[in-house]
Amino acid sequence: MKQSKYGLALLLFMAIPPMASVLESIMIMHMHMQMPLLVISGFLMAPFFQSKLPKFFAKWNEDGIPGILLFTLVMVYWMIPKTMDDALTTTSVELFKFISLPFLAGVPLRDSWNKIGSGSKKIVFIVFTALFYVMGFLYIKAPIQLCNNYLLIDQITLGWGYMTMAICFSIYLIYLAFIDKQESPIQL
């Protein structure tokens, strides 16, 4: 339960307006620090919800597929350049960011990850690796500004951030493919 409190504290800390505006002032910090930290806050808060609503999670997310799908779709939503701009210009979208990332991405991720099989885990990794490569290329190569609220140089930085993550994921996937299947370490 202590974890859940840390999670809530993290979420509240991130929501303090000056903190939010600092993290949102630079594109890569917005996308690759604030957003993941919001997911982590939900991840930490998950045990609270799991203990309050054990039946709900057992019944509706028995095999973890709905949860991991929800996580993926919410992440995809926030990768769209327009949604990131909207979060900066529209209050309701900004509010939705602070709700969706912890509760519709972080919580279901934690609940689902141990339920889905190692095959599904690999698929999740492959999907995100592919997505990150695509987003990386898009942000680096796009001749135009994709986000109106950020400078082009910020966009290229973010593109390389995506690329770095995608390369890390790739290394992990290659590593998985080469190690002894008996001792699969894919147990987070």
Binding site: W60, N61, I65, I80, P81, K82, Q145, C147, N149, L151
Partner: protein
Amino acid sequence: MSNRYTKIATLVVLLFGILLISIGTDGFTAFTAETARVNKLLEDKPEFPDVTFQDSQEREYSMDEFRGNYVLITFFYSSCTTVCIDLEMNMSELYDKIPQKYIGKDIDFLSISFDPDRDDPATLDIYKNMFNSDGETWRMASIQNEEQLANVLKEFGVIVIPDDYGNFAHNSAFYLVDENGVLQEVMDYKDVDAAAEKIINILDSGEGRS
């Protein structure tokens, strides 16, 4: 899929996800805020606000100066080293593609600087010469009043972000305002041929009308 509930949950999540992304992209039409901005402008068709221009010949006038003519507008600043040069080069190309009979009679060209501090008439005069603008049928002007300038940028959805080096990042397009000062078209400034074709079509049909 071990039970019925997870199947239902999966379906619900899938529908929610599609709905969410559909809302976020205005029904899968706009993946960037810039596309959404242009879509919204074309829907709203705002009227050009009342402002006072100061052009390269130190003349001062409002949008009424162009009443009765279409006006092709771009937003720029002369100290710009990147996109504005392309933008104004393309505007020059576009100017050459429009039949002479329409120029000055049915359509005027106007480049508006959003950097009133640096773009005084003398600077604009030098800048206009670089693009073979005649200063008459293609004018370059700034808006000195800060409030008026901010209003124009807001109405026409031009977002200008100053960076740390005295430059501005901004979005660009060709804006076509009709004879009553109402925005009619927002066109891709990189596709001069398409823009020229569209404008000539509009002018041709206008000629048939009058």
